[in-house]
Amino acid sequence: MIRIAVTTLLIIAVTCALASAQEDTIQVVTDTLSDSALAVIQPEVPSPAGKVLVNDTPNDNGGSVQINWTASADDTDGRIERYEIERKEVNASDDTYKVIGDATAGQTRITDNYAENGVEYVYRVVAVSLAQAGDGEMLEVKSYSESSAIVKASAQWFNTNRTVVLIFALVIGSLIVNYISQARKGKDLFIRKIAGLEAVDEAVGRATEMGKKIYYVPGTQDMENIQTIAGVTILGRVARLAAQYETDLDVPVSRSLVMVTAREIVKEAYMNVGRPDAFHEDTVHYLTDDQFGYAAAIDGMVVREKPATIFYMGAFYAESLILAETGNSIGAIQIAGTAMPAQLPFFVAACDYTLIGEELFAASAYLSKEPKLLGSLKGQDISKGLILAVIAIGVIIQTLGVYDFASLFRIAAD
């Protein structure tokens, strides 16, 4: 009896001594274990994660720390179940370490998005593996890395990843503003002929002669899209012509805000040519936000009313060919303009004239011939020349392998 008692006490004492001696490096989860399981535990301790490097996440609003570590030596043979990342404030005791995230085996990077700005932290990485106890229960065995250096999260005032964008924005912006001011001073600026815009007058005239309607489709996107703004700007010019020639104008729209804006523009256009009585609110009317519902509605109207002229000016998606081909089938003159590269081929195939990309944005300047607007086009063209020169230089340098020129323009993810 005494021997059994002493042996049991010895086993317990050794177990406690072992546990306390190694408590800084391993922890075995034993809460639910039976005595027999405890008695035969000899967990194989995983190698801890290597050096833990921490840094404040750059180019952000703070509250974020990046933690990188070298994988545990046991990670390659699949012994590591996961990593736990713990954090404490720098002057706090070690028992205040709290788990702030975990990473799967093989991962060596995590971002702590819950750090407080200005507070100094240290991190450590816990490599967790599973060990089987004598009675078959799975235990978690943890080993702790050394603590990292001190790190503090902070917010930055400038995103250095976007420096090249800032440089280009300033250069291009300056060029455009410079040519606008030159134009204001009366400098004569040449603009090449754009066939689609030259044909606007004639197209409106055709509708007038035939006694048929003009349809104007300002795209399927909302007012936050710059193409829609360009589209409704051109609508103002077309509406003025329609008012002058007393031609019926129909503007079916896909967005409520576009309806409100377009209505104001068309109303002003009619008033400016002295024909406010000819304006009807229902000239501009809403159909549906749904892409193909809109296309179906316009197709139906086009087939029944057979307008002489149809304008498509704005942002379009897959409905572009459905609209354009239907208009073509009834023999209407179609002038399209969009800055959606994927839809341009469809408009080119089905319409009589197409404004390609930037020609849509140039339309307002082209039709008004206003010096300030023409000046901005000139600035745009000079900027394009600059970009072409940079591309040519870059192609030569990159092809010769002299320098990784493209790296100057790479914008890293935030």
Partner: protein, 285 residues
């Protein structure tokens, strides 16, 4: 009017008729076609196939019914494969109709003979978080915490009460992300936010028109694979072993392309023989 003049001015309804027949007849013949799998599809399937049972897969359905003919087959195959291999699905959408398209895929998978006897439970094996407005900002919010973007699922259950989401806080708890995209917001936004900032492992299915925009990301390794259009869907069906609509439709698509090519050749011959046509304005003058 000679034959070639007639061909030049052919009523477009004849073209529609021939295209329609070229699509319908192969479908009804039930011919099995052997389809080779492209490296883009193989890359994606390799990663998907190697996900162990229990892996959490985030599926973003970023398309609407018009794009369903191209994207639904690949989505159906992906969902069915996931259920067959005990992958846990977390479904969401950046387009309003996306989650509803997901429900169609889920229903088709559950109704299939292969899954007839398998118990697939909502909330345990899959969850549909529904649609959230905000485009790429939704992805950004998910990077910190999924709950910031989706407080509830499509059925009104609270995030905290859904078993499958118990240990899912953000992208670091997701093993794979699969995006089905027909435009904006879509694959490009997922790459720029989820992959670049949060190291998500991402595979994508795009419509044929959108796929070229995603190729640079595939080349850069930011996408593990890319399924492009109906061809991509058919290849994925073959890879997963569930040959279905896309595989059948590929033959129809081939015949339709052949008919279009034939008509173009005939049109050019007619043009060469008869001379150029006039523009409407020239004709009016």
């Amino acid at each position: 009017m000679g034959f070639w003049d007639k061909m030049l001015a052919i009523d477009r309804r004849w073209i529609f008729l021939f295209v329609g027949l070229s699509l319908l007849i192969p479908m009804s013949l039930g011919i099995e076609t052997k389809l080779s799998i492209s490296p883009e599809t193989a890359g994606l399937f390799d990663v998907y196939e190697n996900l162990p049972p229990g892996s959490k897969v985030l599926m973003s359905f970023d398309y609407d019914p018009p794009s369903a003919p191209e994207l639904q087959p690949m989505a159906d195959a992906a969902v069915k494969y996931a259920f067959m291999h005990d992958l846990k699905l977390i479904i969401m959408g950046l387009w309003p109709q996306g989650p509803l398209q997901a429900e169609i895929s889920i229903q088709r998978a559950l109704d299939s003979p292969e899954l007839k006897d398998k118990e697939v439970e909502y909330g345990v094996d899959y969850v549909n978080l529904g649609f959230q407005a905000g485009n790429e900002f939704v992805i950004q919010r998910m990077g910190s915490d999924f709950r910031e973007a989706f407080a509830m699922d499509i059925r009104g259950n609270r995030y905290e009460d859904i078993p499958i989401l118990k240990n899912v806080k953000n992208f670091s708890n997701i093993d794979f992300a699969f995006n089905f995209s027909a435009g904006y917001p879509g694959t490009v936004e997922w790459v720029q936010v989820a992959v670049d900032r949060y190291d998500v492992v991402l595979g994508a299915g795009n419509t044929a028109v959108q796929a070229p925009l995603a190729y640079p990301y595939l080349g850069a390794g930011q996408l593990v694979g890319l399924l492009g259009g109906m061809r991509g869907g058919a290849e994925f069906e073959v890879a997963t072993g569930f040959s279905a609509k896309a595989t059948v439709f590929m033959l129809s698509q081939t015949f339709a392309h052949a008919i279009v090519i034939l008509f173009i050749i005939v049109g050019n011959v007619a043009y060469a023989i008869t001379g150029r046509g006039k523009s409407k304005l020239e004709a009016d003058r």
